[in-house]
């Protein structure tokens, strides 16, 4: 099986600050990690390879330092990595990101399955998976919590729903996004880390992936961010102090005062 994993490098905290003038994230000085949901995608790809043989390729679109995220995937056991990096990609919204990823994937040749995370912890839109599938013209299934079977050019998966799960069958190739229930990501291995240490990450530019520059980056992004703001706090709040016991007593007293208990 040829499996492609989409990996995004994200800041290591959900509390990144926002530049009030440009309404964009201030990423300077914040350490980067692999988007946590993408770790499940990597793990699932590695498990499928262990069962069915083949190869796992991790792809990311990002600045040159996103190569670090790719090296981490190699430390976990990923076979090959591709960094899509070009000034022309900067400022991409989910649409332009997905276009870039789809063009990159097309360049990689035949594949059976693309796995992405459910969503990125920074952008949080959960749009890149479905959009990329659409641009590749392949089936898309979201929120996979289990791959039941893969055989004969088909797969059966369990899609997580609010009130249970659906069992879905799809032809291959397809693109799925995975939820954390699907597995427990492994730690890196020493051999993987040593391989990663000496790895030169392959970088593909806009030209390499035959991209139409009008569809890339800011220029190719139909989304315009009008305003980004933290929602105003609602209602009156009071923060209690003292030992846990004292705080519990206060809560109980207040609830009684307001006849809530």
């Amino acid at each position: 099986m040829n499996i492609i994993v989409l990996v995004k490098q994200v800041p290591d905290t959900s509390e990144v600050k926002i530049n009030r003038e440009t309404n964009t994230l201030i990423r300077d000085g914040v350490p980067s990690i692999i988007n946590p949901f993408d770790m499940f995608a990597i793990e699932e790809a590695l498990r499928l390879r262990e069962q069915h043989g083949g190869k796992v390729t991790a792809v990311t679109m990002g600045p040159p330092q996103a190569a670090d995220a790719l090296k981490e995937t190699v430390a976990m056991g990923v076979d090959e990595v591709v960094l899509l990096s070009d000034r022309a990609f900067a400022g991409a919204d989910t649409w332009a990101t997905s276009y870039t990823l789809a063009q990159g994937i097309k360049k990689l040749g035949a594949y059976d399955l693309v796995i992405a995370g459910k969503q990125a912890i920074d952008g949080d839109t959960a749009q890149v998976g479905p959009e990329t599938a659409d641009m590749l013209g392949i089936p898309f299934i979201a929120y996979i919590k289990k791959i039941e079977a893969i055989a004969g050019g088909k797969m059966t998966v369990e899609r997580m729903m609010d009130d249970g799960y659906d069992v879905v069958e799809s032809s291959l190739p397809a693109l799925i996004t995975v939820v954390k229930e699907i597995n427990q990501p492994r730690l890196p291995s020493l051999k993987g880390k040593m391989k990663a240490k000496n790895l030169k990450v392959t970088t593909l530019t806009a030209k390499d992936i035959n991209a139409d520059e009008n569809l890339l980056g800011l220029k190719g992004s139909p989304t315009k961010v009008v305003r980004i703001f933290p929602p105003a706090p609602r209602g009156q709040r009071e923060i209690l102090s003292g030992t846990i016991e004292q705080q519990v007593d206060q809560v109980v007293k207040k609830l009684k005062e307001q006849s809530l208990v």
């Binding site: 492994r186 730690l187 890196p188 291995s189 020493l190 051999k191 040593m194």
Partner: protein, 385 residues
């Protein structure tokens, strides 16, 4: 203290530490309480390649040496000596093959050990052969193309869990210590069973059982080295692994210090944190200084071994002796600094103190280490005369 570790050594340390923190610390109390072998943790360690550190690359390992192995043992021991004993005893069981095995034996067994697919164990001790290993009564008799083993090994770490056992048995009683030989026995061989799992004071996550041989037939090829080499194989094996027990002592000592200083900073008596009392400060200073000295001794023994020195019995005995006495002392002091809390199972130091005790006993008691060191000193002195 900076030991000028290489990039690869730092990588090994950090990954072992990550496993310790993420996989071991959260479950160590439960493993201890339930006497439970850490199967999942061993799997995670296998996947991370920790079992292959000291095994040559041609047999699927990373081709590093004792130093790198000890770094990993130290990190795991900070979190749990039960887990680190299971891990270190695997190396103990592997050394006879690694040091004295034939190429065919290495090819057959080492790759599965390096990948962590198979765990190994070392069987020397018996009811009548503890400190005095020459008391071994298990026999191996050559019959055609097979050796037939009879006898019982006692207190064997990884018993029941391991796939591969390196076992010392007597092939020629008339030759005394020169009549012992070392064999590889695989789990599942007819006539090879396990006694009950021991209920221990500490390192309860590790499995300790009897190995029972009852007309157990193994192929002749499973003899390591030659007949009569058994004790030499055993002694060389222990020379290599003993300093690793020292690394366990360093690890548990550091683990206890890290826990108790965290606690002490927050514990207020007489209106001030107990760390403001000089009596506590001096204990902490001694604990860290002793631990650092132990670490330096273990690391120097490892570097001596790895440099290709021929005889390092004294160095590894000193490393084991000092670092494990330190492990016992420092964990005891950590409980003392934490007072009643230190004695409670809510905190990890009571387990560390119970666990640390074994380090002064197994792989040669610390009395025996002193014998080894002193005899070597005397031998040297009489050579110099």
């Amino acid at each position: 203290m900076d030991y000028l570790l290489t990039e690869d050594q730092i990588m090994i340390r950090d990954l072992a530490r990550q496993i310790a923190v993420e996989k071991i610390v959260p479950v160590r109390a439960e493993l201890d309480e339930q006497n439970k072998f850490p199967t999942d943790i061993m799997k995670a360690m296998a996947q991370a390649d920790l079992f292959g550190i000291y095994i040559p690359e041609e047999y699927g390992g990373l081709g590093k040496k004792s130093f790198e192995l000890y770094i990993a043992i130290e990190e795991i021991s900070k979190a749990c000596l039960g887990v680190s004993t299971s891990y270190a005893a695997n190396a103990l069981g592997t050394y006879p093959i690694l040091l004295h095995g034939s190429d065919a034996q290495k090819k057959k067994y080492l790759p599965n050990i390096a990948s962590g697919k198979h765990l190994a164990a070392f069987g020397l001790t018996e009811a009548n052969a503890g400190s005095d290993a020459s008391g071994v009564q298990t026999t191996a008799k050559l019959e055609g193309n097979e050796y037939v083993l009879n006898g019982t090994k006692q207190w064997i770490t990884n018993g029941g869990e391991a796939q591969i056992y390196t076992v010392i048995a007597i092939t020629d009683k008339s030759k005394g210590a020169r009549g012992a030989s070392c064999f590889i026995v695989e789990k599942g061989t007819p006539g090879f069973t396990f006694g009950k799992k021991e209920n221990k004071m500490g390192i309860r996550a590790s499995s300790t059982t009897e190995l029972i041989f009852n007309n157990c037939r193994i192929p002749k090829e499973n003899l390591i080295a030659r007949e009569g080499m058994g004790f030499i194989v055993a002694m060389k094996t222990l020379d290599c692994s003993r300093a690793g027990v020292g690394a366990q002592g360093v690890g548990v000592a550091q683990g206890a210090i890290d826990e108790c200083i965290k606690f002490a900073k927050g514990r207020v008596q007489f209106g001030q944190p107990i760390t403001s009392f000089q009596a506590i400060q001096h204990m902490l200073a001694d604990m860290q200084t002793q631990t650092e000295a132990a670490r330096a001794l273990v690391y120097s023994a490892a570097r001596m071994m790895d440099s290709g020195a021929k005889d390092f019995s004294r160095a590894s005995a000193m490393a084991k002796l000092f670092a494990t006495d330190t492990g016992m002392k420092v964990t005891t002091d950590a409980v003392q600094i934490m007072g009643g809390s230190g004695y409670m199972k809510e905190y990890p130091v009571e387990k560390m103190m119970r666990d640390a005790k074994i380090l002064q006993i197994y792989e040669g008691t610390n009395q025996i280490q002193r014998n080894v060191i002193a005899l070597d000193m005397i031998k040297e002195a009489s050579r110099q005369k």
